[in-house]
């Protein structure tokens, strides 16, 4: 099994382990498990560790020693020496480290994201419309029931009016007539309330036009991005077939650390002594 660069770095530093960024937990766990043992033997078995390392390196196909050394030197961050297990960096940390925006993948492309927003919004708007249509249909049912009840109550009121006139001494006719009139009024009120509710539903349906308007605004932004992309590609296009030159990392005048003449002299002296 080939090892990741992180595992190699962890082995080289004894107990230091970096969390696997690719999310390969199994491999990370293996490193975490083996690291403390090596750490405990670190001081006493330096030569043995070196031998192990050589064996490991020998087992890795396609990696030349010098190349690996240089990679390790470049990639070992200073934090590793502090024996910390690092957490996955947050978006804020990535922004600070200039590693944001996210890599160019299909799901991260701005136009794709906007398109997805427009499509999702269309789907949800359709679902909202279903709900509103359901309310309208139910209200129509309520109105139909209410109409039938109203017609029946109306006929009963007429009947009770006739009966109470003919038999004014029978209280039940008068009482039921009053109740019938009250129910008739309630039925009319119910009908008015349902009508009012329907009007509000129609109003909501009208307002849903803004979904279409907003979708078209998103499409306009997408069109601008596409044109901008085309323009920027054109203006940054390199017609010169000159091979790319390796760029300098530290140039005089940069704000980052630049070694001075004294520093260089002391470094030379230090390394000369070691040699």
């Amino acid at each position: 099994m080939s090892m990741s660069q992180e595992e190699i770095e962890a082995l080289m530093n004894g107990a230091e382990v970096i969390e696997d960024e690719s999310g390969d937990e199994k491999e990370s766990e293996e490193v975490v498990e083996t690291a403390p043992e090596e750490s405990s033997e670190e001081n006493s078995t330096d030569e043995a560790t070196e031998e192990n390392l050589d064996d490991i390196l020998a087992g890795i196909d396609g990696i030349v020693d010098d190349e690996l050394d240089s990679k390790i030197e470049e990639s070992v961050p200073t934090e590793i020496s502090s024996n910390k297990v690092e957490a996955e960096p947050s978006i804020e940390e990535l922004i600070d480290a200039n590693q944001y925006p996210l890599p160019v993948k299909t799901e991260n492309k701005v136009v794709n994201q906007l398109n997805e927003v427009a499509d999702d919004s269309e789907e949800k708007a359709s679902q909202i419309f279903d709900v509103l249509s359901f309310i309208l249909d139910e209200n129509n049912e309520i109105q139909n029931y209410n109409k039938s009840m109203g017609e029946f109550i109306d006929s009963q009121v007429l009947l009770l009016e006739a009966l109470s006139k003919k038999f004014p001494n029978i209280d039940v006719f008068t009482t039921n007539l009053e109740t019938g009139k009250t129910l008739l009024e309630a039925s009319k009120n119910l009908s008015a309330k349902v009508d009012g509710e329907n009007n509000k539903v129609f109003e909501a349906m009208e307002l849903m036009q803004y979904h279409d308007i907003n979708r078209q605004k998103i499409e306009r932004v997408m069109a601008v991005i596409r044109k901008l992309n085309s323009y920027l590609n054109g203006i940054f296009e390199d017609d010169n077939e000159k091979p790319e030159v390796q760029i300098a990392k530290h140039i005089s005048g940069d704000s980052n650390d630049i070694v001075g003449a004294d520093d260089i002299d002391s470094l030379i002296a230090e390394f000369s002594n070691e040699g």
Binding site: E122, S126, F129, M205, Q209, H211, D212, R215
Partner: protein
């Protein structure tokens, strides 16, 4: 009355369909199309629409092209453009292409009812 509703937004088609139903048009008396290509095909196949309500900006074939196609085959069918394009220039372009009336989104149901009534009576 047979109506053809053309809009790439399904929500807009439903909103317009709802208004049309409030005017007393049965659901089976109007057809929907999501772009000009589908609408033009339906128009040729059925050739019995009393009114066409179309959006402007749509994929495949836009509303303006649809109007031009319809006008080559039928000079009289009333066409109403219902669109977000609210510029004076766009309104003139649409009228020149052959639309009878023009509604800018968002619109109220009353406006559409009024325009349809005018077209049907006129």
């Amino acid at each position: 009355m047979r109506i053809l509703i053309v809009d790439d937004s399904s929500t807009m088609r439903r909103i317009i369909g709802n208004v049309v139903q409030q005017l007393g048009v049965a659901k089976e008396d109007f057809d929907e199309a999501e772009d000009g290509v589908v609408a033009w095909k339906l128009f040729q196949e059925k050739n019995n629409y009393d009114v066409v309500l179309t959006d402007w900006n749509m994929p495949n074939m836009n509303g303006l092209e649809l109007v031009k196609h319809i006008r080559t085959a039928n000079k009289t069918v009333p066409i109403v453009m219902i669109t977000t394009e609210g510029g004076k220039g766009e309104v003139i372009t649409a009228l020149k292409a052959g639309v009878n009336n023009y509604i800018v989104k968002p619109f109220s149901a009353d406006i559409l009812k009024e325009k349809l009534d005018g077209l049907v009576k006129g």
